[in-house]
Amino acid sequence: MQRSTRSYDTEPTVVCLEQRPSSGQQRPRRKFRRIALVGNPNVGKSVIFGALTGTYATVSNYPGTTVEVTRAAARFDPTAEIIDTPGVNSLTPNSEDEQVTRDILLSGVDLVIQVADAKNLARALVLSSQLAEAALPFVLVLNMMDEAADHGISIDAAALTGELGVAVVETIAVRGVGLRRLNAALHDARESHYRVRYPATVESALLQIQRPLSGLEVGQRWLALMCLSGDDTLRPWLERNVPQDGRATLDDAYRQVSTRMGTHVGYEVTRCRVRSAEQLAQRVTRAATSEHGVNVGQQRPLSALALAAVLGSLVLLADDFGVFSAVASPWIRVLGWLGILSALIAADRSTDMRAALGRWAGQRGTGVVVLFVVLYVVYRFVGVFAAGTAVNFIEHTVFGAYVNPAVTGALDRIVAAAALNSPAAAAAHFGRDLLVGPYGLITVALTYAFAIIFPIVTAFFLAFSVLEDSGYLPRLALIVNRSFCAIGLNGKAVLPMVLGLGCDTMATLTARIMETPKERLLVTLLLALGVPCSAQLGVILGLFGALPVWAPMVWGGVVVGVLFAVGFLAALLLPGRRSDLILEVPPIRRPQLGNVVIKTVGRLEWYLKEAVPIFVLGTLALFILDAAGLLSRFVAATEPAVVGMLALPPKAAEAFLVGFFRRDYGSAGIYALFERGQLTPVQAVVALVTMTLFVPCVANFFVIIRERGLRTALAITAFIFPFAFVIGGLLNLALRASGLQ
């Protein structure tokens, strides 16, 4: 496909509805009182605001919120005020920022300047459609035209003007290109005739409820759609501006449409807007390659390569289960990897293949297949290669043959040199036990941290950075969103859940984006209960490499099943308004080696700084408890749960104890027990499932206290630990009943 060669070193064009008047026919310039700058986040609004206003801006919180709004007098007319509104993706609010922008528009503005990122026109047109429904005069600024040209995107501004009915100005705001023309275009601002068509039920309800809204200065179609979408944040405004019988009509219409459609009306409205915006963007855009732009003739070889990758994964999985004979197995494995590699090489070489992969990864059905292939490849890389090869070398050769014997030998010589019964001998004994004893800082804390966890998380962070850099994560969020919607959970709950795969502690903080306290509590509970953080996931994958192939399936099935069951029950008990997940999905990119290395090194540095001190602290706790004779009492006290319910050896209680500090440390303890042959595969899976359902780490516990209060944190903890043991116990019974060992 040919790349656009359009250059933006020269002044871009402005496309207006009318011919600009000649110097002889000076049109009267319009007077504006309030002008709002509106746009998606990160589209360059602030640069345009600076260019239109100059230096003296007032920054203040919008009344009743913590959202900052900047205002200043316009350069072209000091009596006009320009308001830089927070970046939004929709004018039907899903966040405080969006509510502030919506309220500014509701409070009355004479003109809106909509700033759009030219690289992502469809996202901007969703906002344009709402400005059109709001009947607000506006000008559309296509900013970052240089970056769009670099991406091979060319927009037909004249066609867009025709479709929208408003002036479209192309700019490169950071270089000041197009701003003079923007000033001129403001006087051509007008209402847009662009209309999104909604389902017939919604359209007839719109006609019905626009009547009580007639007489208001704000666009009735926009207001009516917000009412039908069940936007509670609009209620105070309606109470001030619409009589009670009118509000009753609006409520009736909302109930009727919701019942008739049987789905969340706001979700359907957003879907229609997004679809319409995408179609319009396609009509006016020429892109080198888009996710929807693969030629039909190229579909067949692409599909064949994708099929090869899926079949390759299935064949390898079947071989893991021992389906093929010992003679055929090596050949089958080569064929399986060839299938996966051919798809990866094609994705590396061909933009069409990347576009097709991006489309499949985010779609219903094919998205799950892509997820399966991704998980399988990550499992082979982390679980089989890193855990099997790297851990074996570092643990048994580096630490087992060199580090531990050298340190133990040195300390033994110090102990032997000290006079018997002298204070120096006692100190030497203590030092030896502290460093290389059964709960020694070197033999346990540092060996676990550097010999077991470090190589595994290095491989996992490497794989994670590749996924990040490729643009796969937003697609994963879309797939997870569909699953959560299926159980009735709010679409916004997806973000903290996906973030939890990185760090549960940070994800607990982002639960603030949920609208009601009940939803925030639910997300906090689900995060603490069953979303493994990246470090724990790495260790678990490492252990899976040594376990039979049914182990990851059982672990994944139980953890996901518990999450969905708890989420489903909680969603029934805690009904909340479902909101939409709006996410910019970038194209699938070829991961850059430099980026991947830097991200991996950055994560490893963070991990070592954060995790190793807690490993040392946990080991120190074990050492002190052992020295005080309390560890054996703890093991005895937990025997009914650990040995009775879970059927694990008493020694496993120590792994659970350090699991209170960090789940990954506890998982490393289980890994070590399995390596020494002290756990069977069934016992290892039971222990891992129980540990995964624990509260992630002490830091997470403190954040729950900070966010939800001590009482709630204690209640969540009091629920989670017994619940984890009950699930572990039930799994133990089920696995043993099925005859597994």
Partner: protein, 68 residues
Amino acid sequence: MNHTDDDIVCPLCGTHYSEAEGRKCYSGCPLQRGCQLLACPACGYEVPAPTRITRLLSRWLGKQVASR
């Protein structure tokens, strides 16, 4: 938006933000002291903050790419 080479690009939502913007989450976090993570101001996705080692590495890798 004036994007610079030092901008962090959120791997989840694609937002460009500076290190200072990524640290705004610290105002509400009880664990901010010594925290090595930055959070995207738009979606909250966290990435490790640039360190001396990663800066050195990116400078070195940048040179490698440029010399090709």
